[in-house]
């Protein structure tokens, strides 16, 4: 059945991390707040209230549009989209329709090492709806006797991004969303958290027949993680192929992903498409974002993740894989640059960030800026590792000590009982002599010329280094061994 190719388009809603809501001054910081406490006449849609747009929401959306190389429309219009539902206090949502803020951009994804361009159809601004709590087991709608409404989320700014149906596999869809999430975080326009609903993805999927004929598209909703997105699309792809293979037709419908059962479930399909009665909101004059503002925002764009990645490869000589990991998060990429600037050798910095530092950041769920070790001290530590003054093992202990006790490198080394100076001269010579004596057979073999690849010398060198707790210069150790043999 592999001749059926999935055709996927995504519709992504991103909550913008503004302080106040889209059209009123209520706080957007509603998580954990008591219900209906972050509200006002405007976001409650009380009679007589009027919307006034949040400047930062516009700036954030334009920033995102520019990063995706969209064309930003200087004159755009807000429309009202009407439907009755308790989470929508005015019974219409202020959104954009035929004149969105931005159109025609793209975002590149990496699919098995190959770059793949996904076109962005449009990007627009709208307001979020309130939240419903259903009074049934598991908070489901089905079977609930009643529902409760909380308007704290009502009016939080949302940016909707719609792709062209350019995505050709569930894995690629996942890769795209992960790229997009990385971008919103780089730009600082959203926390991009899928679990808490800051980033919501709906997918349209159809399958293309061998002849190039497109099937009916199915909308899949309710995926709360990247993994759920990929699983839902895989399930849906298989389901549609199966329907086709039975000679049945695919119904155009909306299906909900159920993470527990691992299935998509059909929502009762409607007899006719909903009529949203869009028309320009007469409360809001046209939005004008002039060329100067756009140029300014373009200049202020930070270095984008793929730009940093490419620079790391070309300037630091890192591999693609290394560069990808280091640029996954902007704070981490900035740390890399910072450490190198402060004298850390690139290789050591890259290795340490990707292992020790990332582990700590993830364990503590903190950003690199929140790391208690000042960058100067971190750079000093890494330089010592590079110069062989500290073994990796010792350095890890020092790192842990610095982290725990907020010590600088020297104090941490002291606290660990490691001597601060290098082990050299006669002290070192004594250790080398001792090690050679303990490994007389190996010494004999080397003397007999059985160490063409130098492996045995390395072996001895390793033992000496361990004995010295990494405080000797490996090169000095090597030359000492050679001179003794």
């Amino acid at each position: 059945m592999s001749e059926f190719i999935p055709v996927i388009g995504l519709e992504i809603h991103v909550q913008l991390s503004t302080k106040s809501k889209m059209f009123c001054s209520c706080s957007t910081d509603y998580i954990g707040a008591r219900p209906n406490s972050h509200v006002c006449p405007i976001c409650l849609g009380l009679p007589g209230s009027l919307p006034v747009i949040n400047e930062r929401a516009i700036m954030y959306a334009v920033r995102m549009a520019l990063a995706m190389r969209c064309k930003v429309n200087t004159h755009t219009v807000f429309h009202r989209k009407h439907y009755f539902y308790p989470d929508l206090p005015k019974a219409y949502q202020i959104s954009q329709y035929d004149l969105p803020l931005a159109v025609d951009g793209h975002l590149e994804v990496n699919d098995d090492g190959k770059a793949h361009k996904i076109r962005i159809q449009r990007l627009h601004l709208e307001e979020d709806a309130g939240k419903l709590v259903h009074a049934a087991i598991g908070g489901r709608l089905m079977g609930a006797d009643y529902s409760l409404v909380d308007y704290n989320r009502s009016g939080v700014p949302l940016m909707e991004i719609v792709t062209q149906p350019d995505i050709t596999s569930p894995k690629q869809a996942r890769e795209f969303v992960s790229r997009l999430r990385q971008l919103v975080r780089y730009l600082g326009v959203s926390d991009g958290d899928m679990e808490s609903g800051s980033l919501r993805v709906d997918a349209n999927i159809s399958i293309m027949e061998p002849g190039g004929k497109w099937g009916e598209k199915v909308e899949v909703k309710n995926m709360n993680s990247l993994k759920a997105l990929e699983r839902a699309l895989e399930y849906e792809y298989e389901r549609q192929k199966e329907v086709k293979s039975k000679g049945e037709t695919i119904v155009r419908e909306t299906r909900h992903w159920d993470d527990d059962s691992g299935k998509t479930i059909s929502s009762r399909s409607k007899e006719e498409a909903e009529d949203y009665r869009y028309f320009p909101d007469p409360d809001l004059p046209p939005l004008v974002v002039d060329e100067r503002t756009i140029v300014q925002l373009c200049k202020e764009l930070p270095e984008l993740p793929w730009e940093v990645r490419d620079r790391f490869i070309s300037d630091y000589g890192l591999s693609l894989e290394e560069a990808e990991v280091l640029t996954e998060r902007r704070d981490v990429a900035l740390l890399m640059d910072d450490l190198v600037k402060r004298g850390s050798p690139v290789k050591v910095a890259s290795n340490w960030i990707r292992t020790e530092i990332m582990r700590v950041l993830n364990e503590r769920a903190i950003s690199a800026e929140e790391l208690t070790i000042p960058p100067d001290e971190m750079a000093l530590l890494l330089s010592r590792v590079d110069r062989g003054e500290l073994s990796t093992t010792a350095a890890k202990e020092v790192f842990a000590m610095m982290l725990e006790k907020s010590l600088n490198v020297d104090d941490a080394i002291k606290a660990l009982g490691l001597s601060t100076g290098k082990l050299t001269g006669s002290d070192l010579e004594a250790i080398v002599v001792k090690v050679l004596a303990e490994n007389a057979e190996v010494v004999e073999e080397i003397r007999a010329g059985k160490d063409k690849k130098g492996k045995k010398v390395k072996f001895l060198q390793g033992i000496v280094m361990r004995e010295t707790k990494g405080q000797a210069d490996p090169k000095e150790v090597q030359s000492l061994i050679m001179s003794k043999i």
């Binding site: 409650l44 009679p47 007589g48 009027l50 019974a91 028309f279």
Partner: protein, 493 residues
């Protein structure tokens, strides 16, 4: 001065009186409240009289007066506010069962302005439900009556505000005008009624009927009062995105003119042959004559598209916006709500029983014209025609500074007369509607009294933000015909 004389004083005369110590705020407010209590049995101009609130505020203001504090421009002036404008802590019904018990938790911008200026809100005025109507007969709280003739309507939808000012409840009142809802009742009640330029007065706190047409404006019995209250309520407001950031002129400065030298007054070509009341035609020609006497150049203007297509254009756009603005009344958060088994039933029944017939009719029309398959033919076409109407007015204002037209085609009609045929009832707004479509300012004022003792109104239309031009021309006319009179019990026929 006899206390009943207070009822005939203008707002500015009251402020003068307080300053001179002729009487106190509580003297005036008490007199007004007693007068209201007696007359409301007949007039029904108010949905909610604010006896207690007005009383305690009058004591507060008297105390301020005694302390010698600086007084606001409307200090101690009783004001009636149409019941679609929110006042914090006071119920705001919009003349509808839907909001019968809704207490607004915030005040409209204009109310805040009035209160800062020292005014005393003495009642919330009766109106056609959600401002849809021309007679105040579509109020869920019973019809208001015309103080000049109780068998007739006061006009609408701001009928209660107009009747209040004519009946001496207060020297000034606020109304709202979407298609003539200030100017038509002002004409029917023989008082001044100004619809400002769209965007001059903040709509924050005005319960929307048609957002692109709605504008709050004043009623008064003298032009000086019109200018004074306009000055107060036109304070810029960042909470209404459609409210202009332009600087406001000093409106009182336009009033003390005696000459219209170098001023051009336009009139509607062929108005004599239109289907309007003869006494209104006579009032128009008399008014034009007054302007001419004062030195104005009189020019003829043509508004064929506005006259012929204004009504259908308005009755497409206004219901469309209304259907959207009134969608929020769904029985979930506030207002009329039924007990229902499921959500859909809650919506259908709450809205089905909470709204009256005229509101339902317009919501249905509006929903129809916004439907995805009808949008282009109806709503979009109406918006294009609206542009033609704007162009037509622009052309007219290249020839004239103000236009004089009828305010209404007829004198106040009898109660019940226009209730059955909506299309006929809509004709009452023929001359006022194009003004809203073009976003222009217009004043309706009494030009004379009919033989039957009813006020005869005319309308003065200005260019965008041309309130000053209107006041200038009106001032010359007022000097001849006199300010508006009160129809107190004794004056009534």
């Amino acid at each position: 001065m006899k206390n009943s004389e207070f009822l005939k004083l203008s707002a500015l005369e009251l402020v003068e009186g307080y300053k001179k110590g002729d009487f106190t705020v509580s003297d005036v407010i008490e007199t007004a409240l007693e007068h209201i209590e007696v007359n409301e049995r007949n007039l029904n101009a108010l949905i909610t009289p604010l006896y207690e609130e007005a009383r305690s505020r009058s004591w507060m203001l008297d105390a301020a007066l005694a302390r010698g504090e600086e007084l606001g421009s409307l200090f101690g002036v009783p004001v009636v506010v149409k019941d679609n404008i929110t006042v914090d802590g006071v119920r705001t019904t919009c003349g509808s069962r839907m909001l019968e018990n809704w207490i607004s938790p915030y005040s409209a911008h204009v109310v805040e302005c009035l209160e800062r200026a020292g005014a005393v809100i003495i009642g919330k005025a009766n109106m056609d439900e959600f401002a849809m109507g021309s007679s105040t007969e579509f109020s869920a709280f019973g019809p208001a009556l015309n103080p000049w003739d109780l068998s007739r309507v006061p006009g609408g939808s701001s009928g209660g505000s107009a009747a209040s000012v004519a009946a001496g409840y207060a020297p000034i009142a606020l109304g709202s005008d979407t298609g003539g809802s200030i100017r038509q009742p002002a004409a029917f009640c023989g008082v001044y009624g100004l619809k400002p330029t769209y965007g001059l007065v903040s709509r924050f706190g005005l319960i929307a009927f048609a957002s692109s047409l709605d504008q709050i404006g004043p009623f008064a019995r003298s032009l000086k009062d019109v200018a004074a209250i306009l000055q107060v309520i036109s304070e810029p407001d960042a909470r209404d995105a459609t409210c202009t950031r332009k600087e406001r002129p000093n409106y009182a400065e336009f009033l003390n003119v005696t000459s219209l030298e170098g001023f051009k007054v336009g009139y509607l070509a062929g108005y004599e042959s239109l289907e309007i009341d003869d006494e209104i035609k006579r009032a128009i020609s008399q008014t034009i004559e007054i302007c001419k006497e004062a030195g104005a150049e009189i020019v003829e203007v043509d508004l064929p598209i506005s006259t012929r297509y204004g009504l259908p254009c308005y009755y497409t756009i206004a219901p469309a916006e209304a259907s959207s603005n009134l969608a929020r009344f769904d029985g979930v958060q506030y207002g009329f709500s039924v007990v229902a088994d499921d959500l859909k039933e809650l919506y259908l029944k709450s809205r089905g029983s909470g709204f009256g017939p005229e509101v339902k009719r317009r919501i249905l029309i509006g929903t129809f014209v916004l439907g995805s398959s009808r949008y282009d033919a109806y709503y979009l076409q109406a918006q294009k025609v609206r542009q033609l109407i704007i162009r037509e007015f622009n052309a007219a204002f290249s020839k004239a500074d103000v236009l004089i037209t009828p305010a209404t085609p007829t004198l106040p009609f009898k109660r019940g007369e226009k209730l059955t045929d909506p299309v006929k009832a809509y004709m009452a707004d023929l001359f006022t509607i194009p003004v809203n479509l073009a976003g222009l300012p217009a004043l309706s004022m009494r030009a004379s009294m009919s033989q039957s003792g009813l006020p005869v109104g005319v309308q003065l239309i200005g260019k965008k933000f041309g309130e000053g031009d209107i006041l200038k021309a009106a001032s010359v006319i007022e000097q001849v015909v006199g300010p508006a009179a009160t129809a107190l019990g004794g004056d009534r026929k």
